[in-house]
């Protein structure tokens, strides 16, 4: 199912205009005709945010946020802790209504996307159920609200094997390390075959070595699939290593102070962090973050 899309977005395709765009896996220039269009809408997700605002009582959490997230791109939102990034994710995932403004996920409301299981979440804590085995945990999202299971849903076993958990299908969560637990959480989200993956600092609780391992696993997983990823983090290097685009948010209320394209080649090399361009981009993001912190 991926084959025609991958072909359409190969860097040597004529419709790609700039070398920068060419490095994107999927961009806004996808040919919008024929079977590819339907594949596109079935598999990827374009998110539009217009003047989005969210407040709890008098406390403004998100303010006047507008952006477009193109289908199949990996977009990180980076900002100081407590700036409302998680709230933004929850609004986009349809778990929290917006106070004002408009959001569409593939033209639908987030609420509708959620009820059709088109948004897959990876929370900060893995949230594995201790009484379920690795395999059973991986298929938890398929076991509830079954009527909404999309035809794109995937069997967990091959995915678990892909992330190196093939020998742990019948293990219980307490037998796994933190990194392994988070890999199960990742697989659990991917089983839905959902076009949108939202991840809320999923690697924040892991040690540095495990984090970098998780980065390459995540890169590998999403590079082989057509999925739009919205990734919230407060780690500069994580944002740059994973993303096609980094949105730098201000302290609360969240708004976007910088929108930085990450033109590192895909597929990302495991040693991408040694790339001089990586270091440059980190500096750019760091600079934008500092600018955003100024009153």
């Amino acid at each position: 199912m991926d084959a025609p899309m991958l072909a359409a977005t190969r860097p040597d395709q004529p419709h790609t205009t700039t070398p920068h765009d060419a490095t994107r896996r999927h961009n806004g220039n996808l040919p919008r005709h024929g079977p590819i269009t339907s594949l596109h809408s079935a598999w990827m997700s374009r998110i539009e945010l217009r003047d989005l605002a969210k407040s709890f009582g008098d406390l403004a959490i998100v303010d006047a946020l507008s952006t477009d997230i193109s289908s199949g791109s990996f977009v990180s939102v980076i900002g100081p802790s407590g700036c409302g990034k998680t709230t933004l994710l929850r609004v986009i995932a349809g778990l929290e209504p917006a106070s004002s403004g408009r959001i569409t996920v593939d033209g639908d409301s987030p609420r509708a996307a959620r009820s059709h299981k088109r948004v897959a979440m990876v929370p900060q804590q893995p949230g594995l159920l201790p009484w379920r085995t690795v395999y059973e945990n991986a298929r938890l999202l398929l076991d509830v609200n079954r009527r909404a299971n999309p035809p794109e849903a995937l069997e967990p076993t091959p995915l678990l094997q892909e992330v190196g958990l093939g020998d742990f299908l019948n293990a219980y969560p307490h037998e796994l390390s933190g990194g392994m637990q988070q890999r199960v959480a990742l697989v659990r989200a991917l089983t839905l075959g959902a076009p949108l993956l939202v991840m809320d600092e999923p690697f924040a609780a892991l040690d540095e070595i495990t984090r970098s391992e998780m980065r390459s696993i995540l890169n590998r997983l999403v590079e082989g699939r057509s999925v739009t990823v919205l990734f919230v983090t407060h780690s500069l290097s994580e944002a740059v290593a994973l993303s096609d685009r980094v949105l730098v948010s201000s302290p609360r209320p969240t708004s976007i102070v910088a929108d930085i394209d990450i033109d590192l080649p895909r597929p990302r090399a495991t040693d991408v962090e040694d790339d001089p361009r990586f270091v440059e981009l980190c500096a750019v993001v760091r600079h934008a973050l500092h600018q955003g912190m100024q009153p």
Binding site: A93, R114, W131, V144, N145, A148
Partner: protein, 254 residues
């Protein structure tokens, strides 16, 4: 015998030996305190009577506890789901817990008739509040990340209850069950002493107390202790079976 069974055995035998020694060395008169050896001998002589009575008491305690648990899970789910339900239920449950149920056994017997029904009813009634608090606490303590996750795919309330909240309550329900074993057995015993059925350890105990038959009374007390021990043992086995995933059930490396 494995180490896990040996330790409690040593504890009980040690306790009984100390008791025996106290009675013999201190020359305690039998109507004050009997020696365990004498009670055990009496029990052995009347094994059939006591086994039959213990079976009746166990039956009352088990059926009553199961009904209490079932009602408690329903009430506990409502408490976990709604603050209002919780605040409404809390004083009633506390009231049930603090009322000396011995005082209203006679009324319940008058209402439900003699025999099994009042025994099962009282056991269910007294074991329910602790189970309800445990169920509500366990369900409310369900992993927030897992709750968020189930919400993200629009899982129904029933699915959240069944897949997340109920299993989350299992550990606290087992803890409460350990405490409720004693309560249920004592409730059965006391009702059997007043339900005119002349069945169960409570009936033997009541009659023995009335007729000043110390051996028979102590036989009933010992039988209750044995029953409680067996119940706790079975509860542990069940817990091991149901909660193999739980940290408390992990075997320590030896």
């Amino acid at each position: 015998m494995s180490k896990r069974l040996l330790a409690p055995f040593v504890g009980i035998v040690g306790f009984l030996a100390l008791w025996e020694a106290l009675v013999r060395v201190g020359d305690v008169r039998p109507f004050v305190l009997r020696a365990p050896s004498r009670i055990v001998a009496y029990l052995a002589d009347h094994f059939g009577d006591y086994a039959g009575a213990a079976w009746v008491t166990a039956h009352h305690a088990l059926i009553g506890s199961l009904i209490g648990l079932l009602v408690a899970v329903i009430i506990g789910s409502a408490m976990a789901a709604s603050r209002f339900a919780e605040q409404a239920a809390q004083p009633v449950l506390t009231l049930l817990q603090v009322t000396p149920f011995v005082a209203y056994i006679a009324s319940v017997v008058l209402w439900l008739g003699s025999g099994t029904r009042p025994a099962v009813f009282i056991v269910a009634l007294v074991s329910m509040p602790a189970f309800a608090f445990a169920a509500a606490d366990g369900m409310r303590g369900a992993d927030p990340a897992a709750r968020e996750l189930l919400a993200s795919v629009d899982a129904s309330r029933r699915e959240v209850l069944w897949r997340l909240r109920l299993p989350s309550a299992i550990p606290s329900l087992f803890t409460t069950a350990r405490y409720n074993v004693g309560l249920a057995l004592i409730a059965s015993y006391l009702v059997e002493g007043g339900n005119f059925a002349n069945e169960g350890l409570g009936a033997i105990g009541k009659r023995a107390a009335a007729l000043n038959e110390g051996d028979a009374l102590w036989g009933a007390i010992f039988s209750m202790a044995i029953l409680g021990t067996i119940a706790l043992l079975m509860l542990s086995l069940l817990q091991r079976l149901v909660m193999g995933w739980h940290p408390s059930q992990r075997t320590r490396a030896s």
